[in-house]
C-alpha cells in the first residue's frame, strides 16, 4: 500500500512516465466512454423505437379509418366526418414535432403502397393538418439532409407552390441536394417537367437519369417535351440525357437533329446519336449512317454502334458489300458485330464461313443457346 501511496503522490513515477500514464488513462477513459455511449445508444434507440411504434399504431388506426371510410363508403363522405377525424389527429399531435414527423413518414409510406381515392385522402390529411409547413421549414435548415428531406416530402405530396423554393437548390454544390431538387422539379412541374435542363450546369449522372426516367414513365407521356430542344446544349451530359430520353420515348421528331449529332466532336454523343437512329428505325436516313462507316472506321466503339444501327435499318441488297468489309476489321468486337448484322440482314452462314477471319464468330452466333 505504501507503493500505491507513493505512486499517487508521484514519488515513484517520473514526469515522462506520468505523461504516458495520463495518455493511457485518456485512451482507457475514451474506450470506456465509447462503451457507455454504445449502451446508451441502444437504450435511446429502443426507447425512441418504442415511442414511435406507440404513436404510429395510434395514427395507423386513424388513417385506416379515413382510408376505409373513403374507399368503401357508397355515399360521399361528409366533410364534417373528415374534419372530426382531423380534429382527433390534431389533438394527438399537440405541439410535438416528433409526432408530426412520425405522421409525415407514415403518410408517405402508406402513399407508396396505395393508389386512387386512398391517396387523395392521405394527401388531403397532410394538407388539412398543415404538415407542409413542417416540410417547408426544413428547406430553411442549414443541414443539407434536412433540406433534402423537406424537398422529398413536398414532392411526394405534390405541393406545387414549393417549386420556386426548391428551384433555388438546382445548382447547389451539394450533390445530394442538387439531385433531390432535380427529381422534385421533374415531379412537381408537370407542365414543364424538364425546364430545369435549360439552366442546369451540373452533370446529369446515370443515377439521375435512372430516377428522372422513372418519374417520366409515370407521367402523362403526351406532355413530354421534345428532347431534341436540348441537343444543342453546351452541357454534354444534358445532350446525352436528351438523346437517351428521345430514344427511349421513341420521339421520331428527333431523327433529323440526331443526324447532325452523329458528327459531334464528342465521341460519346456521336455514339449515342447513331445508336438512337437505329432504335428510332430511321430507315429513310440509312444512307447517312452507311456514310459514317468509313469516317469512323478507326474507332472501334463507334463502328460497333454503326453496325448495330445498320442491323436495324440496313438494306440487305445495298449495304452487304460495305458490311462485308468489316469482317476484316482489326477489332474483334467490330468483326463480331459485323457478323451479327450481316446475319440479321439475311446473309447465310455458309457465305460468312468463307471468311477465315470470322469462322469462330460465325459458329458462336449460330449457337442457339448463346443468343
Amino acid at each position: 500500500m505504501l507503493w500505491l501511496e507513493k505512486l499517487i503522490n508521484g514519488e515513484i513515477l517520473t514526469s515522462k512516465e506520468l505523461t504516458i500514464i495520463t495518455i493511457a488513462l485518456v485512451f482507457f477513459s475514451a474506450g470506456f466512454a465509447f462503451i457507455v455511449t454504445l449502451f446508451l445508444s441502444r437504450i435511446i434507440k429502443s426507447h425512441l423505437q418504442g415511442q414511435k411504434k406507440k404513436i404510429k399504431s395510434k395514427f395507423q388506426k386513424m388513417l385506416n379509418a379515413l382510408v376505409i371510410n373513403e374507399t368503401f363508403s357508397t355515399t360521399e363522405v361528409p366533410d364534417s366526418a373528415f374534419e372530426f377525424r382531423m380534429g382527433e389527429i390534431r389533438s394527438m399531435l399537440g405541439s410535438s414535432n416528433f409526432a408530426r414527423q412520425v405522421l409525415i413518414d407514415q403518410i408517405l409510406e402508406l402513399k407508396k403502397n396505395l393508389s386512387g381515392s386512398a391517396v387523395h385522402v392521405l394527401t388531403a390529411t397532410y394538407f388539412a393538418l398543415k404538415l407542409e409547413k413542417q416540410s417547408l421549414r426544413k428547406l430553411r435548415r442549414p443541414a443539407w439532409r434536412k433540406k433534402a428531406l423537406g424537398i422529398r416530402e413536398l414532392s411526394e405530396m405534390n405541393y406545387k407552390p414549393a417549386i420556386p423554393a426548391i428551384s433555388k437548390f438546382i445548382n447547389s454544390s451539394n450533390q445530394m441536394l442538387r439531385e433531390e431538387s432535380v427529381m422534385a422539379l421533374v415531379r412537381l412541374n408537370t407542365e414543364q417537367s424538364l425546364k430545369f435542363l435549360d439552366i442546369y450546369s451540373g452533370v446529369i449522372t446515370p443515377w439521375m437519369q435512372i430516377n428522372i426516367h422513372h418519374y417520366l414513365q409515370k407521367s402523362d407521356l403526351r406532355k413530354l417535351p421534345q428532347f431534341s430542344r436540348w441537343f444543342s446544349s453546351n452541357n454534354v451530359s444534358v445532350v446525352l440525357f436528351s438523346i437517351n430520353m428521345a430514344k427511349h420515348f421513341r420521339q421520331s421528331s428527333a431523327i433529323a437533329p440526331l443526324l447532325l449529332l452523329c458528327h459531334h466532336p464528342e465521341k460519346k454523343i456521336a455514339e449515342e446519336a447513331i445508336d438512337a437512329l437505329g432504335e428510332l428505325e430511321a430507315f429513310e436516313h440509312r444512307e447517312n449512317v452507311v456514310k459514317l462507316a468509313p469516317k469512323y472506321w478507326e474507332d472501334a466503339g463507334i463502328s460497333v454502334k454503326v453496325l448495330q444501327c445498320l442491323a436495324k435499318i440496313g438494306d440487305p441488297y445495298q449495304d452487304t458489300h460495305i458490311l462485308l468489309e468489316f469482317l476484316n476489321h482489326k477489332s474483334y468486337d467490330v468483326r463480331f458485330e459485323a457478323v451479327k448484322t450481316l446475319k440479321k440482314l439475311g446473309v447465310s452462314t455458309q457465305q460468312l464461313s468463307a471468311f477465315p477471319t470470322v469462322k469462330g464468330i460465325v459458329d458462336h452466333t449460330t449457337e442457339p443457346l448463346l443468343q
Binding site: F27, P206, Q209, H364
Partner: protein, 479 residues
C-alpha cells in the same frame, strides 16, 4: 565501446518510439475520417431507393465471375444463391478451375448443361479452356459454366474477364454469401460518377455461427469460437475504420477478393489479374490505378460500408496461419511489383500516402514488432530495462488497442447494428481485451513467416479447409 552502445540504444529507442507514435496518429486520423464518411454515407443512403436501378433500362450490365475449385459439396446451392441476386441485367459465369472432385459433373447434371461453340478470345493469356457450357433450361439462361485447366484463382478470373462482354464484372468467391441487394449497392457509385469510378468493394463480414439457409443469410449471430470472434473485431476495424477513410481520401488499394466490382475494359487494359502473386486482389487494384495515373486519367476506387458479403472465417490456428501467411506474401509481392509508386507524386495520393502507409504500417509493422521484442530481450539480459517506464509504455499501447477496438464497435453500432444482443457486445468487449495478448502476437508471427516463406520461394495458396455453411442448416433442423 560503451558510448557506441549508448548511441545505438538511443537511436533504436527513438526510431521505435517515433514509429509507434506515427502509427497511432495515422490510426486516429483514419478513424476520424472514417467516422465522418460513415455518417455522410448513412445520411445519403436515406434518400436512395435502390429499386429504381432494378427496374431501369439504363442500369449497367454485369457479369458475376466466380471461380470454383473442388466445391462439389456446395456448388449447386452457391450457384442458386448467385442466380437469385436482385439485379436485372446480369449473368453468372462459373469457372471450374480444374477441380479434381465432381464439381463440373454436378453442375452439368443440376443445370442441364451442354457444351456450346463459344468463340473465346484469349485477350488475357490463361490456361486452356476445355469447354464452355450453357443450360438447355431457360430458367438458367443467365448461367454460363467454363471448364478449364487448373491455373489458380487469378487465372480463372482472367478467363471470366475474357468471356464477359458486359460493362462491369463482379469477381466473387463462390462460397461467399452475397446479400440479395449487394449488386444494387455496389453499382451505385458507378452510376454517381460513371467516368471516374473504376471499382467498388463492399464489407466482408464473418458468417461463422450465423444461420444460413439455401445460400441465404437468415440470422446474424456472433461466432461462438473466440478465434472467429476476434476476426469479427479485426474485420470491423479494418473495413469500417480503415477502408472507409482510404475511400474518402481516394487512396484505397485493396478491394477484397471475396467481392469486388470492376470496369471490365479497364481491368483488361491494365492486364487483368496477375497469376504470379497470391495477393491478386490488391495487385489488380494497384495496377489499374497506376495504369490510369500513367495515362493522366482520373480514377476512383469506392468502398461501400454496407455488409454485402459474408464469408466463413478460419476457425483454427492452423488454417488461419496459412491465410495470414498468404496475405503477408501477397502484400509484399504487390508492394515489390509496384515499387515505382513509393513517394512518387505522379501517382497522387496512392504514391504519396497509400503506398507508403502500406509499406511502413502494414508490411513493415510485424518486423518492427518482432525485432523490437528481440531488442527488448537483449536489454533485459543486459539489465538495461527501466521497468517502470516499460510498464507505463505497455499500458499505453494496450489501452490504445482497446480504444481503437471500442471505437470500431461504436462505429458498427451507429451504422449497421448487426449484433443486436446485449451479450454480443459484452462478448466483443471481452474479445477486445484478450486480443492484443492472445491473438496479435500470432498474427505478427504468421506475417513474418509469410515473408520468410516468400524469400524461400513459396508460391502456393495453402489449403483453406472450410467447415461449410451447410452445417448450420443441419444444426437448425435438428433443434
Amino acid at each position: 565501446m560503451e558510448v557506441i552502445g549508448e548511441i545505438f540504444y538511443y537511436i533504436i529507442n527513438t526510431l521505435v518510439f517515433t514509429y509507434a507514435v506515427a502509427i497511432a496518429v495515422s490510426y486516429l486520423l483514419l478513424a476520424f475520417i472514417s467516422m465522418r464518411e460513415m455518417k455522410m454515407y448513412m445520411h445519403k443512403n436515406y434518400f436512395i431507393d435502390y429499386k429504381y436501378i432494378l427496374s431501369s433500362p439504363f442500369a449497367p450490365s454485369i457479369s458475376l465471375i466466380a471461380p470454383a475449385y473442388n466445391e462439389g459439396l456446395t456448388i449447386i446451392d452457391n450457384i442458386k444463391s448467385l442466380m437469385s441476386i436482385m439485379y436485372n441485367n446480369f449473368e453468372v459465369i462459373i469457372i471450374n478451375d480444374g477441380s479434381k472432385d465432381d464439381t463440373l459433373a454436378k453442375m452439368i447434371d443440376a443445370f442441364d448443361l451442354v457444351k456450346v461453340d463459344f468463340d473465346l478470345q484469349y485477350t488475357l493469356a490463361t490456361k486452356p479452356v476445355k469447354g464452355i457450357y450453357k443450360s438447355r433450361n431457360r430458367a438458367f439462361k443467365k448461367l454460363l459454366v467454363v471448364d478449364k485447366e487448373n491455373g489458380g484463382k487469378a487465372d480463372a478470373l482472367n478467363v471470366g474477364l475474357n468471356i464477359s462482354k458486359r460493362e462491369l464484372v463482379a469477381c466473387i468467391d463462390v462460397d461467399c454469401i452475397i446479400e440479395p441487394d449487394a449488386l444494387l449497392k455496389m453499382v451505385k457509385p458507378f452510376l454517381e460518377d460513371s467516368s471516374e469510378v473504376i471499382a467498388s468493394g463492399g464489407v466482408v463480414r464473418i458468417a461463422n455461427s450465423c444461420i444460413i439457409e439455401d445460400g441465404r443469410l437468415i440470422e446474424v449471430r456472433l461466432p461462438e469460437k473466440l478465434i472467429a470472434r476476434i476476426q469479427v473485431l479485426e474485420y470491423i476495424r479494418a473495413f469500417l475504420l480503415g477502408r472507409m477513410a482510404w475511400s474518402k481520401l481516394n487512396g484505397l488499394l485493396l478491394i477484397s477478393g471475396a467481392f469486388g466490382l470492376f470496369k471490365r475494359n479497364i481491368a483488361i487494359e491494365a492486364g487483368g489479374y496477375n497469376h504470379k502473386t497470391v495477393g491478386e486482389d490488391m495487385e489488380l487494384v494497384v495496377r489499374m490505378r497506376a495504369y490510369l495515373a500513367e495515362q493522366n486519367r482520373r480514377c476512383r476506387v469506392v468502398y461501400i460500408p454496407d455488409p454485402l458479403c459474408w464469408t466463413e472465417a478460419p476457425s483454427n490456428f492452423q488454417i488461419l496461419g496459412r491465410q495470414r501467411n498468404r496475405w503477408a506474401r501477397g502484400t509484399f509481392e504487390t508492394l515489390k511489383l509496384h515499387k515505382r509508386l513509393f513517394f512518387n507524386k505522379k501517382y497522387g495520393i496512392m504514391g504519396l500516402l497509400s503506398y507508403p502507409y502500406w509499406f511502413f504500417f502494414e508490411w513493415l509493422a510485424p518486423f518492427v514488432e518482432f525485432f523490437g521484442l528481440l531488442f527488448f530481450f537483449m536489454l533485459v539480459l543486459m539489465g538495461m530495462v527501466n521497468w517502470t517506464f516499460f510498464f507505463c509504455l505497455l499500458i499505453v499501447v494496450y489501452t490504445f488497442a482497446f480504444f481503437i477496438s471500442m471505437f470500431s464497435l461504436l462505429s458498427e453500432e451507429m451504422s449497421f447494428y448487426k449484433y443486436t444482443h446485449k451479450r454480443d457486445i459484452i462478448k466483443m468487449i471481452l474479445t477486445a481485451l484478450v486480443e492484443p495478448v492472445w491473438f496479435h502476437p500470432r498474427v505478427v508471427w504468421w506475417s513474418l513467416k509469410g515473408n520468410f516463406d516468400l524469400i524461400k520461394g513459396k508460391k502456393a495458396w495453402g489449403e483453406m479447409t472450410r467447415q461449410g455453411f451447410v452445417q448450420y442448416k443441419t444444426k437448425k433442423a435438428t433443434l
